[in-house]
Symmetry: C2
Subunit: 250 residues, 2 copies
């Protein structure tokens, strides 16, 4: 009987996984990975069969049940089964369903934490998410919601927190900015968008909530983290079209 | 002219640093580290001079100025200078003061993100901080405050967030629990304390806000993360004295 390791793949760059994650990938017989895990990271699993379980089997609920069954089945036939998830498994990673399903199936499971996107974006921007006198707390939030979940529950936290990191914000940035301003955050609050944090195609944009709400937002191909708060006022971000809007607002 | 790397040392275990962090430590000429970085992690820096800059020079403001100067000075004499901080540098790591001081001194600086304590605690507990239908956001908060900073600013966020991770909560857990209940969180909200997450001396306690407020809290020698929220209701935590209080409350 094998064991399943739920492993954080980190924000993107292959050398931003942990030593423990790298050793498990090297030893893995099978690796079930999300669609967004970088090929260089997967290459560490030199001896493993790789199974891409990202967005392939139609509806999410079906997919999750399939993954649960596949993990248990693999652990019955192999010693080291790795379930590799972008960032950290315990933050927006849907890990609980898999942990619970493995427990029910009587299969041992261990979680290996990873570097989450928000801190990788902060590193890229060289802006600390907390800062003395400016930001003493950070909320990690998603504005996406499942069927039956309340739509704007995230707003209460995002309004109260000094710094807000919004996961899976691609395509929603303008709407999120509008909602934050409506909820009471100042229109000139700095906002940053980091696409492909830690990867060669990384892009960093600096703007404000007002500009993000009112101006065209660039299209993104990779995963995007949107972060909002005073700490980003002098962020190390590139001048892109949206930045001109910021300067007009400022 | 050398370069300064602000590197996350992760939650404790030496194999929970990133590959990039390990390579930088191996190459480092000098490593300035916090008091809490584990000796096994420091041992990776086999060729470096190690400088412990944790809580040694009296008042914090003096200490920070000393560290800023020492980092700049080291970069003028060495190629690879590592500033090693527990967890991730950009979360409660006071990184901004050092980044800004290095920029002013004209010294190149790069940030290498790390695994933060909250996700390591979640991994240890096998409880995802977010969970479909139960928790869609997480606040990372500290109840500690600097001189002149408002005392209970953290409460607004901690009340609004589904899951709350409280950093540097050792010695404050009872007071924090009392404040959370006063602010409107249900007295039977599950709470967990994780001491020395990821290290051999790791301890996990499960309780509730009411029990944490009313019952004696065990003494901790290591760093403690306090986390609060419905996700922790069936946490994989050990039965310790405080747990009996929980069962009475439940």
């Amino acid at each position: 009987m094998g064991k399943v390791y739920l492993v954080g793949a980190g924000p993107g760059a292959a050398d931003l996984i942990t030593l423990r994650a790298a050793r498990l990938l090297e030893a893995a017989d099978v690796v079930f990975h999300d669609a967004l895990v970088h090929p260089d990271t997967l290459a560490i699993a030199a001896h493993a069969r790789l199974v891409d379980v990202g967005k392939r089997f139609g509806r999410i609920s079906t997919e999750q049940r399939f993954i649960n069954r596949a993990l248990a089945e693999a652990a019955r036939n192999h010693a080291v089964v790795v379930r590799l998830k972008g960032g950290d498994p315990m933050l927006f990673g849907r890990a609980q369903e898999e942990i619970d399903a493995l427990a029910e199936a009587g299969i041992e499971c261990e979680v290996v934490p990873g570097v989450t996107a928000a801190v990788a974006a902060a590193a890229a921007l060289r802006v600390s998410l907390t800062r003395r006198g400016i930001a003493r707390n950070v909320a990690f939030v998603t504005a996406r919601h499942g069927p039956g979940e309340p739509e704007a529950e995230w707003l209460a936290v995002a309004r109260a927190a000094d710094t807000v990191a919004l996961y899976m914000a691609s395509g929603q940035a303008a709407e999120i900015a509008a909602q934050l301003v409506s909820a009471g955050r100042a229109a000139d609050t700095p906002a940053v968008l980091v696409e492909n944090a830690s990867l060669p195609g990384e892009r960093r944009l600096a703007t404000t909530l007002a500009a993000l709400r009112d101006q065209p937002v660039p299209r993104f191909a990779g995963p995007v983290l949107l972060a909002v708060g005073e700490v980003f006022r002098d962020a190390d971000a590139e001048i892109l079209p949206i930045e001109q809007a910021r300067q007009k607002t400022a």
